[in-house]
Symmetry: C3
Subunit: 311 residues, 3 copies
């Protein structure tokens, strides 16, 4: 495998999940694989789970890690071809990506959606700039349109807790005070396309995700109805996609409650706003898988890095 850019780079989800679960039982089994290899983690945005879990995954494989907050520690990047760089940007992605490639063996990038410029967000200018110009493998640590390390951790968590051949899985929108990107929801949907499940998305009207991603997944605008008899309910806020980046609804009736959850397992990528996105009771009860999802971030990253190092 060259790059891990989207869920679609997973050639065989169940094999990857099994590999990850096997790494989880013996994290240091491949400690020699990464000897003499270095990964650079470049953050254009804040991070807790991704920062720590990707470092840990790399160290479990014996790699060296260099972490850089590109925005505050490096130079402001230009992404436009042919730009006359006489304003605030002092380095072009062409040089930055090639230069970083001289100092490490794998580069991982976090660059969130702006939510103001749909075209640029969809073009993934930062991530794709590195993919295009770097000479080393690139890993997506959350880009404008996807968060495939999260989706892989979610798949591992589902596999660990699923008792059924075809579980009912619900992706439910929830309210949030700020406009949030679509990346987590997108990658979760893409990952569910690779699973055998009864999969339903529920959200208020106007919050339809990109139809090129959701494809033929059933959308149910009645949240309670969607949640009936669910085995897993994945909750996440996102801003409007059609009215790009706008907050159209903050109706607290969409908050996930223990009542709506029923006997389903609760999932969320974190960070989560308590009593806005989901009530305390849900998070504090043993139906919540959120900490295990976070834990599985390490093994999702580790299986990705191992596949890159192996190839």
């Amino acid at each position: 495998m060259k790059n891990y850019i989207s869920v679609n780079d997973i050639d065989n989800l169940s094999e990857w999940v099994n590999n990850a679960r096997s790494l989880k039982t013996d994290p240091f089994a491949h400690k020699n694989l990464g000897q003499g290899k270095t990964i650079c983690l470049l953050f254009f945005n804040n991070s807790l789970r991704t920062r720590l879990s990707t470092q840990k995954a790399a160290m479990n494989l014996g790699m060296e890690v260099m972490v850089m907050n590109f925005g505050s520690e490096g130079w402001q990047l230009e992404f436009d071809d042919g730009a006359v760089m006489d304003q605030g940007k002092s380095e072009h992605i062409k040089e930055a990506a090639k230069v970083v490639s001289q100092f490490c063996d794998i580069v991982a990038i976090r660059a969130f959606a702006s939510l103001t410029d749909k075209e640029k967000d969809e073009a993934e200018v930062v991530l794709n700039g590195f993919v295009k110009h770097a000479s080393i493998p690139v890993v997506n640590m959350e880009s404008s349109v996807g968060h495939p390390l999260q989706a892989l951790a979610d798949a591992i968590t589902l596999a660990e807790h699923n008792m059924k051949a075809k579980p009912k899985v619900v992706l439910s929108w929830a309210p949030h005070p700020k406009a949030l990107p679509h990346a987590v929801a997108n990658s979760f949907v893409e990952m569910m396309h690779l699973q055998d499940a009864d999969f339903v998305i529920t959200h208020p009207e106007g919050y339809e995700l990109d139809p090129q991603i959701t494809k033929n997944v059933q959308v149910e605008y009645d949240q309670e109805k969607a949640c009936e008899n669910a085995d897993f309910i994945y909750v996440k806020n996102w801003s409007s996609y059609s009215d790009y980046g706008k907050v159209l609804n903050q109706d607290s009736n969409w908050m996930m409650t223990q009542e709506k959850l029923g006997s389903a397992k609760f999932m969320h990528c974190l960070p989560v706003r308590r009593n806005v996105v989901v009530e305390d009771t849900v998070l504090d009860n043993n139906q919540s898988l959120v900490i295990e999802q976070a834990n599985n971030r390490t093994f999702a990253a580790q299986v990705v890095l191992k596949k890159i190092l192996d190839s």
Copy 2:
């Protein structure tokens, strides 16, 4: 040992000091102890000595280290139970502490006093939030009310330079342009409770430390008198405790001078403001132990981490 939160977690000070002095003679003697173990250093405030010495201590034991400036690199934390998180804070300490526990084996926290909310500061909301919700050992890298790694380094330094069965040790307040926390002074006092010494605290009226910490230690408001025949004078500014966080006095007569020092050894935790807290002559003369105190920070941290790893 589970956590190192305060000086009161030291079960036998002289044994710890001896262990630290032994590590100092052979820092890599236990290089295998930390193999495969990771420590996270989470900074909510700036740091020089603590940042570098705790990293060095962990590396001396063969541990991996992940350093994170939580405030600027992560998410703003909510600490109140039951909060409706619809404002600026995007993650609750409940999740943050549990999540960090998935990625490392020990977590160390620096979170200074606000000096504006005495109740919250005394409740140690950040440090205790991690203690309560983390599933791994927690180390205090300076909290609202204590700096026990500094106090342990101070104890090592005292032991290295003390020639007497019962030395005279003075803790002297000094002026400072800004309001500073009580953490260093508190932990030094708590550490002195574990020593056989003639211990005196001197400060202007109104600067009494928390009586629950000072207990029956002698307070002498006349600085010169307090310093007479001292073997060690530890100088430190703190703001008022009773008139919480206020600067009541900036009288430069309280600055430590070579004349007041006499033949005593000079101690300070650093950073120190020259010619405000203490005159140049004192710092530049060989009675000053400040650089050795800083050096001993490594071995204080190393003995703490070793005890956690050993247990």
Copy 3:
């Protein structure tokens, strides 16, 4: 070797270049040399290449690395002897340098010119403060007046691509929207003094570099004439030295073009502003050595660290 402060610390340039080229063919050949040794990288300014290449170089030698953004993560430093520190600065360089020396074996410093106070810049207060007060070797990662790691990487790159006994090398000024320091140009000139070459500097009038550095190097104010028959053209902007830190000229006719370049190799330290300093065509063509210069930063740093560790 104790410190690497300027190009003048290179005792035998061709030997150093050969050592670096040999490290490049086998970067891990001396992996045991740095075992148990730690380097601190202290940044007072932003950095991409220097940050990553110096880390990589140290790791190639088996060293541990601690990276610190001193400005934002530590304390504001006072550099004046005898200062009464009652303003914003909370730690004196005397303590900071001695303290850092307790926690590592080598310290590397980046501290750019202010371009506002010529006297202070030329005194190299930050770098020389560490040199004076640290008890460990100090490496210059770009100071007010020099960038000797860059110059050494440039020498390696020249050696790799030079086919002649005495090549023609041109250092050409180029326009830039901001006032930039002289460090890179100064160190390049100093390095050229150690080479057998036909060396010419070209810039608009008023942009003469420090004559104590340029000495008897030929200056040609006609850029096209200077570039005729060049083998290597090194392009770099700098602000005026005589009218210190001022931008006197932004004439885009000074931008390097493919036409002026002719068949010469193009060099630049990066980051570079495309279509301001140099046109796209030059950077995107195989006469450009800029990525190889960046790559050689690792081996320049590695040869410096190796020489310090060896001595």
